[in-house]
Amino acid sequence: MDADQRDALQARVREAMEAHTPLCLTGSGSKAFLGNPVRGEPLSLAGHRGILSYEPTELVVTARAGTPLAELEAVLAAEGQHLPFEPPRFGPGATLGGTVASGLCGPRRPWSGSVRDHVLGVTVLTGKGDILHFGGEVMKNVAGYDVARLMCGAFGTLGILLDISLKVLPRAEASETRVLECAADAALDTLRRLGGESLPLTGAAHVDGCLYLRLEGSEATVAETARRLGGETLDEADSFWTALREQTHPFFAGEAPLWRLSLPPAAPLPVHDEPLLLDWGGAQRWLRSFRPADAIRAGAEALGGHATAFRQRPQDVDAFHPLPMAARQLHLRLKEVFDPQGLFNYGCLYPDL
């Protein structure tokens, strides 16, 4: 099943250049709902797959971008390691490439770092048909501009990821989740207080009147901290965090547009009485709201953050938070560098990217 399709993909891109055919890049399609709609001929990247190297003592894995996340994570788990940023899959076939291109992280993100924090190097196929390599397989590397990290969260609009090297880490020995009953404002107060202490916290979410705190570390530390935090131990904690990460938790069901707010963690709660789920210790908030996009975005901006229309996006609303002029200009120029014909996922991130 593993296959190296770089030559075929390069040939396909060269054809597209020749014929000016826009391409819609897809892995397994698990995250196709994200971003703005893309018109173009579908180009599947799922066939370019397979783990190229993995040495647990080096804490580095290199794999082709089409490698299923499930397969990669299973190989890491067999060695007691994992992708620390806990990426959501949003579907059984989710690929590594889609994970890096969308830059999404799970509940551990504030403590572990993001996808881009763990990307060490990439091989990328640009919209000019060039195959380039940036970064490497070592932990520290400041030679040249950090193009590898630029590719993270770019939704494929700067190039097709072919191979990706990631830093991996050991999984913790023990894990326990405590549940504390409290309202959202009290939860934020608690989180603010806990944030100043050195705790083995790796998850902090508030939903339906309960604050969920996940602790990970050695048996002794987790047990001691759990006692200190109080509350109840959550049974089946894994399924709670998985449901949160995969958005299968009941909060995510229903028709109201789902907004993702990325804010300073201690930002005050909104005055509107709308369903709100706090994740990332308050730094990522999920909002169900029919209010106008502009109002939601202005609110997020006023608090020092930004808002993404994540699911059930209303018509005529851009998925991503609009950029100020100067930043937009830079985005357009970078697109020009990596994909001057606008072949890749044109419009997915912003209208003319």
């Binding site: 193009v147 700067l158 603010r192 944030g195």
Partner: protein, 491 residues
């Protein structure tokens, strides 16, 4: 004739700059420019046409606009502690010192962030955050002097980066100016921003893409318990093996540093840290966190070190002994500096598993060049700092040291590593960039630079070599037959 043109340019530009800045903030006299002529890599020196010391972002903006219109190169400078000639002035350009941007704007304890001006020193942030029980994790050895603007521009690391990450992992946002004078905010106090990750690109961009005018940093709670182990080894491969075993056992130390015999002896002579001077190498392993966690890990690490063949393992009994263990490591550079009139500090990163092999090859080269080498480095992440000892007063010896250094970097690339882990390319390693990247990749780098700075006025001639330069370097190298694998365009 050229001289007078140079002087005329200087006078005209100074006049225009004095309309933006107070007179005392525009330096044109040789003796005033002298302090800016080099950074921490003093082998490269040049006087700028003019140096300016602005205090407000609006002034910087006006300076950039003026230079943009007049096509004058601009080189930013923080504290000038860089080790690759990144802040080396341009003879026809303006040296833009950010030294007066030295205010900590806000420590936000609730959000655990610090917002600072770019000229604030690294250590000052942790000092200001200490009252809240917080600290800023990246800690370059130069932390009392180096600035956050320089840290961002170099993506600096430190002893604690193994666990806490580099500058790029600890900066939440910046405000910057482009050469065209556009003011941009990238990120902020939230954990991500919309659009492309320009914040990541700015890290390690060595002052070529924009001027950093404000930095928002992530602060962390101080770990309540810290422990340090010191292990002695009879051979370097055994020490390397111990590093692999600790990491392989799922332990992420806060720091894991290796010193070879020449450097540990020099350090011992200098600060009397109590190091075992007969050891081929010592490892220092710092563990931090909750008390129970640290106690458990200390025992595991002790056992791992012994199993890897350590001839001696010491666990610091108290804070004083812990400080003593570190004192030698922290003083290693100046200590080695006492062994010879000059030293040249290299900065390659390699996969950890190639450690012993690469150190052996460096030792062989040391004999070939007749220049001693001391090794002291961040073993946990494979970041080597070979210190080449030489005497600049002996004719030709600096060149020999540089050539030796270049060959070490080429070995790093050959084994799958990089020519610079944290010090940057700057002026120094510009030729070795040709070994690590092929022509296509360099072309994209130049194009990326152009997206930020269309006229190429920010820090020209640094970080990314021209293709022409690489062609010449390649030809020269193959001709001399020194490139280990000339057929290898890159790793």
């Amino acid at each position: 004739m050229t001289q007078s043109l140079h002087e005329r340019n200087r006078a005209a530009l100074a006049r225009a700059l004095r309309r933006i800045l107070p007179s005392e903030a525009v330096l044109t006299e040789k003796e005033d420019l002298r302090p800016f002529e080099c950074d921490g890599l003093s082998a490269y020196r040049a006087l700028p046409l003019i140096a300016v010391l602005p205090e407000t972002v609006e002034q910087v903006q006006a300076i950039l606009e003026l230079c943009q219109v007049n096509e004058v190169p601009v080189v930013a400078r923080g504290a000038g502690t860089g080790l690759s000639g990144g802040a080396l002035p341009h003879r026809e350009g303006v040296l833009l010192s950010l030294a007066r941007f030295n205010r900590i704007l806000e420590i936000d304890a609730a959000n655990r962030t610090a917002t600072v001006q770019p000229g604030v020193t690294n250590l000052a942030v942790s000092e200001a955050a200490a009252v809240h029980g917080l600290f800023y994790a990246p800690d370059p050895s130069s932390q009392i002097a180096c600035t956050l603007g320089g840290n961002v521009a170099e993506n600096s690391g430190g002893v604690h980066c193994l666990k806490y990450g580099l500058t790029v992992h600890n900066v939440l946002g910046i405000e910057m100016l482009t050469m065209e004078g556009e003011r941009l905010r990238l990120g902020g106090q939230a954990l991500d921003g919309p659009g492309y990750d320009l914040l990541a690109v700015m890290h390690g961009s060595e002052g070529l893409l924009g001027i950093v005018t404000e930095v928002t940093l992530r602060l962390l709670p101080r770990p309540p318990t810290i422990q340090v182990l010191l292990a002695a080894f009879d051979s370097i491969p055994a020490a390397g093996e111990a590093v692999a075993r600790i990491i392989g056992a799922g332990i992420v130390p806060a720091g894991l540093e290796l010193m070879d015999n020449p450097s540990l002896r020099a350090a011992e002579d200098y600060v009397h840290a109590g190091y075992p001077t007969e050891a081929a190498a010592i490892l220092l392993c710092e563990l931090d966190g909750c008390e129970a966690e640290v106690a458990a890990q200390t025992e595991r690490v002790r056992a791992l070190l012994q199993a890897a063949g350590a001839s001696e393992v010491r666990v610091a009994r108290d804070d004083e002994e812990r400080a003593r263990f570190w004192a030698g490591r922290k003083a290693a550079f100046p200590a080695v500096g006492r062994l010879a009139p000059d030293y040249y500090c290299m900065d390659g990163t390699i996969p950890r598993k190639r450690l012993a092999e690469v150190l052996e090859r460096i030792a062989a080269l040391s004999e070939e060049y007749g220049l001693p080498v001391a090794n002291v480095f961040h073993a946990g992440d494979g970041n080597l700092h070979p210190l080449i000892l030489y005497d600049a007063n002996r004719p030709g010896e600096l060149r020999k040291a540089e050539e030796f250094g270049g060959r070490i970097l080429e070995i790093c690339v050959e084994v799958g590593g990089t020519i610079t882990g944290e010090h940057g390319v700057g002026r120094e390693k510009i030729d070795q960039m040709c070994v690590q990247f092929d022509a296509d990749e360099l072309r994209y780098f130049h194009a990326l630079k152009k997206a930020f700075d269309p006229d190429g006025l920010l820090n020209p001639g640094k970080a990314i070599p021209t293709l022409h330069r690489c062609a010449e370097f390649g030809a020269m190298h193959v001709h001399r037959g020194r490139l280990p694998h000339p057929e290898l365009e890159r790793f």
